[in-house]
């Protein structure tokens, strides 16, 4: 990074207004091993909670179009117990449904016709579009990819939306799957199939969180994460521990439980 950019990051991130606050009023996660709230509370070592109302199942018409990562995204979103009205949607994923793109590449090499389904759903915001149609959501959506910091960037987008329009609920969906063979050299050890949905509001029940961006400390900048950032955040959220800080390439992301 050059001097000017460093200065810009520093001056922006240390200003008091760089602190964002939101409440996580509902959450749901999904992985091949864990489904449902109880399994994730146990995973986080958090006390069990009374069972929530049964979540809406992912419609079959949607399920048949999705691959693993998209399915986990849909399971998490439809699993939110208090998903009502028209929340604004933010989707974030590092790789998206990469298996789909690999499928298309293989068909091109074999000179076979491309699958119209795979082709039409191969852009990064297709999964957001598909799920928003299936859930009847017309509030608009954003689809973000930001490398290893895709979840963090998605949460920043969601927190900014809450700040900009406090009356509008925002659902953040993070979903990913490990890069398939033959892309292992580019795969991080922490990569795992995941879908996480967080319902964010300016006020309401559930843990309140503040978020800040700080200049990256040289020695930790760009460190390969040992746990997927979205899972680290869920652990922080459920565990009630004081703070979570994740070093990024340009800045350190920090969240604290707020009163």
């Amino acid at each position: 990074m050059n001097e000017t950019a460093t200065e810009l990051t520093r001056s922006r991130t240390t200003a008091p207004e760089a602190r964002l606050r939101f409440q996580v009023t509902d959450w749901m996660a999904a992985s091949p091993e864990r489904h449902g709230r109880a399994a994730w509370l146990e995973w986080a070592g958090a006390p069990a909670q009374p069972a929530a109302d049964a979540a809406a199942p992912v419609p079959a018409s949607l399920r048949r179009r999705l691959r693993q990562a998209g399915l986990l995204a849909a399971e998490a979103l439809f699993g939110l117990a208090s998903l009502t009205g028209q929340p604004r949607l933010v989707f974030c994923s590092r790789h998206g449904e990469f298996q789909r793109n690999l499928n298309l590449l293989r068909q091109l090499v074999a000179e076979e016709p491309l699958s119209p389904t795979d082709f039409s759903l191969s852009v990064h915001n297709a999964i957001a579009g598909l799920i928003s149609i299936a859930s009847g959501n017309r509030a608009g959506h954003t689809a973000i990819a930001a490398g290893r910091e895709s979840f963090q960037a998605g949460l920043l987008e969601a927190a900014v939306l809450v700040k900009a329009a406090p009356d509008q609920a925002v659902v953040l969906v993070h979903y990913d799957e490990p890069l398939p063979t033959p892309f292992e050299p580019f795969r991080d050890p922490a990569e795992t199939p995941i879908g996480l949905a967080l319902l964010l509001k300016a006020a309401g029940s559930g843990p309140a969180v503040t978020m800040t961006l700080e200049p990256a400390r040289e020695e930790k900048a760009g460190t390969e994460p040992t746990e997927l950032p979205s899972l680290a955040f869920l652990r922080f959220l459920l565990g009630g521990a004081g703070e979570l800080s994740l070093p990024g390439r340009l800045r350190t992301w920090r969240w604290r439980h707020a009163a």
Partner: protein, 85 residues
Amino acid sequence: MRELELELKKLIVTTLALEDIRPEEIDSEELLFGEGLGLDSIDALELGVALRQTYGIRIESVTAEVREHFATVASLARFVAASRE
């Protein structure tokens, strides 16, 4: 023709990943698109590719005639049978 119809029903279920429907449950006279089975335009394209790979039938453009062929499993079976002759 019954055999070909069942073959097409299996092709539809497998190609379009209709996991909640068994091939035998599809009525040969049931509309495939919109009403009936509720398939959409992406399914039509996917089905077109499957017909090409399975029976070597190439559909170059979507005409009113093609729409009629794709209306039901029965009409699709007549179309496939005629194309193979």
